[in-house]
């Protein structure tokens, strides 16, 4: 049976989205798979949504971009909107539930439910509203809430948000081992770990926690992982 998984990881610049993509591709390669990673990139230095596309397969990979993802991880509302087109009904969408909420259907609301009437996050925070409070627009795929930001903030440090997300992704993907991920991390960030050994352990624990959260959510949703 051919193994092929397509991933979209998206968030705001600064959340570590591209690192997740790079490490995922590298780890897959170390597991003996073909892999390809490409970032989205446009003219703006900052302030755009950051999106990483990763493909992993046991056969040669074609185009760097694709129509639909198998697994998505979305860390901000704007990123969710920008990447909605990559969802199909078979996509599993991990979203950071500490920042995003599923929509509440209010029959009395006029207009399109919780979609076009919302301000973009940046503007929302500028006018004094909590950016995290906006509900998610409708999704085509299966939503899997992972409170990544909260877990990172409460159990580790906010900086390892992306590692929790990476763990959740490999928890769903199969065929990519935690060991391969740790090796890839070592290759990329080894110099930082050398300066502070505790970082290595913390990153490993954050990844494990992510794997755990993803598998918990999956069984709650009644799906075989």
């Amino acid at each position: 049976m051919r193994y092929r998984k397509r991933f979209v990881i998206a968030g705001e610049g600064g959340q570590g989205v591209q690192v997740v993509g790079e490490i995922l591709a590298e780890a897959a390669y170390r597991c003996g798979l073909e892999s390809l990673y490409i970032p989205n990139f446009g003219v703006e230095q900052r302030g755009g949504a950051s999106i990483a596309f990763v493909q992993v397969s046991d056969a040669p990979i074609g185009a760097p971009k694709f129509e639909h993802a198998d697994i998505m991880a979305v860390l901000s509302r704007r990123a969710f909107e920008r990447t909605r087109r990559y969802q199909s009904s078979d996509t599993i969408v991990i979203y950071d539930s500490s920042n995003l909420k599923t929509p509440v259907i209010d029959d009395k609301t006029v207009g399109i439910q919780g979609w076009e009437t919302m301000a973009p996050e940046g503007f929302a925070s500028a006018v004094g509203r909590e950016p995290g409070a906006e509900p998610l627009p409708r999704s085509k795929g299966m939503l899997l809430p992972i409170p990544a930001s909260d877990v990172a903030k409460n159990e580790f440090t906010p900086r390892v948000l992306n590692m929790v997300v990476l763990g959740a992704i490999i928890g769903l993907a199969g065929n990519i081992s935690e060991e391969a991920v740790m090796e890839s991390l070592e290759a990329e960030l080894g110099s930082k770990f050398a300066k502070d050994e505790s970082l290595r352990e913390m990153n490993r624990k954050a990844i494990r926690r992510g794997i755990e959260l993803a598998q918990q959510e999956l069984s709650r949703a009644g799906v075989e992982s």
Binding site: I38, F41, P60, A63, P64, K65, E67
Partner: protein, 351 residues
């Protein structure tokens, strides 16, 4: 590593000593990697004031017998046609890496195959150039090295035509030492400054690109055109995938070739006898090879991220062939295997 990083390593492996460039996305990282490698390997670099000077500086370096190269994209490629025209006229073996982005004008910094015609035929000449179109990091490595060899062997400006996707994506690649791998390396010699004192030990070298009367120019060009024709069999390259019994042929180049191959497999799964043809060299265009396959198939579908640039070449070279040619044209946008499959299925019904 990213495609841009691969280019820097390939140039180094080929023995390149100098790079000139000007910032333009998506090729900037080639400069970044080159400047990082420079002190350790004794490499030269200058970021010039614009693409015109980057191209001319590259030509200057090449004239003295140095392996030098330049890289650009998009609007930079447009400006680069000025120095490239001079290289074409004067048979200067300079190498350019082009990472295509959307066009025309500034458009996007991201991706396209819209500089195909420009890279092959830009400038005010006859397109006497060698253009390799890569579709993977391994290609990038292999063909950057080959480009240096081909440029110096045949003395035509030579190009490696990539794109923003290849520049920025990461995939596995095997780097190697060309000498150890038995890959031909360029034979470099000074063009303008051979050894010896001019008019004492040897005649001075006088180079010009200006002529007085039409016939003078024609004489020179005829010589270049003849050399180009003689070179074709030694340089032209194409790739065929499952073409032996194919009834439908997908034609593509560059990164779209990856999707084309995948599409061919998907079509075969559906019972369609599909095959794929890839132009590896766009200049010279693999006319003979394509005609041979075209004679056997019932339908050709050209897929490209441009509005007919590859298509024109295909139609031009297949003139007289009876097979219908249809197209999947998406200027500045990537093409997936699924889209090619859908197109082929659709066109097969119509034709």
């Amino acid at each position: 590593m990213t495609g841009n990083e691969v280019v820097a390593w390939a140039a180094l492996a080929a023995g390149a000593r100098a790079m000139f460039g000007y910032p333009i996305t998506p090729q900037n990282e080639i400069m970044h990697y080159w400047t990082r490698l420079a002190p350790e390997h004794g490499l030269k670099f200058l970021q010039t004031e614009d693409e015109l000077s980057a191209g001319f500086a590259t030509i200057g370096a090449v004239l003295t017998g140095s392996l030098a190269f330049c890289a650009t994209a998009g609007p930079g490629n447009v400006l680069m046609q000025e120095p490239i025209s001079m290289a074409e006229m004067m048979r200067i073996p300079a190498v350019w890496v082009i990472q295509q982005r959307g066009g025309p004008s500034t458009a996007t910094v991201i991706y396209s195959q819209q500089e195909t015609r420009l890279t092959c035929f830009g400038g005010n000449g006859e397109g006497l150039r060698i253009v390799y179109s890569t579709s993977s990091h391994q290609d990038m490595f292999d063909y950057v090295i080959k480009a240096f060899w081909a440029a110096w062997e045949f003395r035509f400006p030579t190009f490696v035509l990539g794109d923003g996707y290849q520049a920025k994506m990461r995939e596995p690649v095997t780097l190697y030492d060309p000498e150890e791998a038995g890959v031909a390396l360029p034979r470099v010699e000074p063009i303008l400054k051979p050894d010896g004192v001019p008019s004492v030990d040897r005649e001075p070298v006088h180079l010009r690109n200006t002529f007085n009367i039409e016939e003078e120019l024609m004489d020179v060009l005829v010589g270049h055109i003849r050399d180009y024709a003689e070179m074709i069999p030694r340089v032209v390259e194409s790739e065929e995938y499952l073409c032996e019994d194919a009834e439908v042929l997908v034609v593509a180049h560059g990164v779209v070739w990856r999707s084309a191959k995948e599409a061919v497999l998907m079509l075969r799964d559906q019972g369609v006898a599909a095959g794929g043809f890839r132009s590896v060299t766009l200049r010279p265009f693999p006319e003979e090879a394509l005609r041979a396959v075209a004679e056997r198939v019932k339908l050709i579908v050209v897929a490209e991220s441009a509005y007919g640039q590859l298509e024109s070449m295909v139609r031009d070279r297949l003139y007289g062939a009876q097979v219908p040619v249809r197209t999947l044209l998406k200027p500045g946008v990537g093409i997936t295997a699924e889209e090619i499959v859908d197109s082929v299925v659709q066109f097969s019904k119509e034709v």
